[in-house]
């Protein structure tokens, strides 16, 4: 009886599975792509790409990021910050599960995450008098340990998500345009 109950519980936990994108859809232009592009991109009326990149690096540092990679020739910067990912909501959820399963299930919760900003600048015209800056934020999350009955779930399971909150991008570009004394134009 107890086992049966447990397997139902495990199934419920696992039932978060969703269908994935087909490989042929990866390179299709969807409307979503355009919205993301508009959100992540701004252009600046400047010929000084160097200053754009340098200011971006300084701004990311201001926001607590560490520069992880710099390929100036192609205008590529990557910055990361690693933080605790524990959330109250998940802790409460875990406690509820613990109660409901009579102490048999201890759900793993998010423990660490790495927030990454990938930034690329590029000239928009042959004379390179206009440059666009595109930034994408995403995070990679590691889960902590857990337990189902006597089976221990080791920590470290990962997942990843793109940050698609427009406010984050708006704030970033507002700060960047302030630091280069230039207006950030929407594409």
């Amino acid at each position: 009886m107890g086992r049966w109950w447990l397997s139902i519980l495990t199934l419920t936990l696992l039932s978060g599975c969703v269908s994935s994108t087909k490989p042929s859809d990866f390179f299709a232009l969807t409307p979503e792509i355009l919205t993301h592009r508009a959100m992540q991109t701004r252009f600046f009326e400047t010929a000084n790409e160097h200053e754009l990149l340098s200011a971006s690096a300084a701004l990311l540092q201001d926001l607590g990021f560490q520069i992880d990679e710099s390929q100036r020739e192609v205008g590529f910067l990557r910055a990361v910050k690693e933080r605790s990912a524990r959330e109250y909501g998940q802790e409460i959820g875990r406690t509820v599960w613990f109660f409901l399963s009579f102490g048999k299930v201890r759900q793993p919760v998010d423990l660490h995450h790495k927030i990454v900003a990938a930034l690329v600048s590029r000239p928009l015209n042959p004379d390179a008098t206009h440059h666009e800056v595109r930034i994408a934020f995403y995070r990679v999350v590691w889960k902590g340990d857990g337990q189902v009955d006597y089976d221990y779930i080791p920590p470290g399971a990962q997942y990843m998500e793109m940050v698609n909150d427009p406010v984050v991008y708006q704030q970033f570009f507002a700060k960047l345009s302030k630091s280069v004394f230039l207006e950030a134009h929407r594409i």
Partner: protein, 196 residues
């Protein structure tokens, strides 16, 4: 003592029971390693550092040097980072970026684990899809990252800014930065002053 059924002692008993129950539930629900991590309502909010801490920290992290020799400054920064036994990861002379990392043994593995020492967590973007183990996992907390940027303030001055991350937090204590800049001053043979 006889059985006391007065309302006061009953509620006390009830409270005691509740506390014991909460304790029983809480103790296995949280491992000590997890407890050492900060909790928040939304982890995504960490994309930003709060404005207050930005202003507070920026002053401690920045120094002005009366020189315009960027190259010499970058060489001195690399030397200083080597003094601190850091591994240089990024060095961009034109943009003036130096990034380094080191592992501090905050979370020492309980037994010698080769995977802990050999694991290269940053060689791949998405890390390992299948490898889930304690060793590399501890790495995330042990990783100390440091970024130093050099920017021109004017024709004769450079601003050097150092920022660090340690045990999954931004380092906001001014002391480590003071130590860093003291060593850097000795390496460039120059006095620095704080940004007004």
């Amino acid at each position: 003592m006889t059985t006391d059924t007065s309302p006061g002692s009953l509620s006390l008993l009830r409270w005691l029971l509740l506390i014991v129950l909460a304790g029983v539930v809480w103790s296995p629900a949280c491992s000590p390693y997890e407890m050492r991590h900060d909790k928040q309502s939304d982890a995504r909010s960490q994309i930003w550092l709060s404005e207050d801490s930005q202003v507070k920290v920026r002053a401690a992290q920045s120094r002005v040097f009366d020189t315009n020799d960027r190259r010499k400054m970058l060489e001195a920064i690399v030397m200083t980072l080597q003094d601190f036994n850091c591994k240089i990861e990024v060095l961009d002379e034109e943009l003036g970026i130096v990034s380094a990392k080191k592992y501090a043994a905050f979370e020492r593995p309980t037994f010698p684990d080769p995977s802990y020492f050999l694991y290269q967590p940053d060689t791949l973007l998405f890390l390992t899809r299948n490898y889930r183990d304690w060793g590399p996992f501890y790495h995330r907390s042990d990783l100390v990252r440091l970024t130093v940027t050099v920017r021109n303030r004017n024709d004769s001055q450079l601003i050097v800014r150092a920022s660090a991350q340690s045990y999954l937090r931004a380092v906001e204590d001014p002391l480590p930065y003071q130590r860093f800049f003291r060593t850097l001053e000795q390496a460039v043979f120059l006095e620095s002053h704080s940004v007004e």
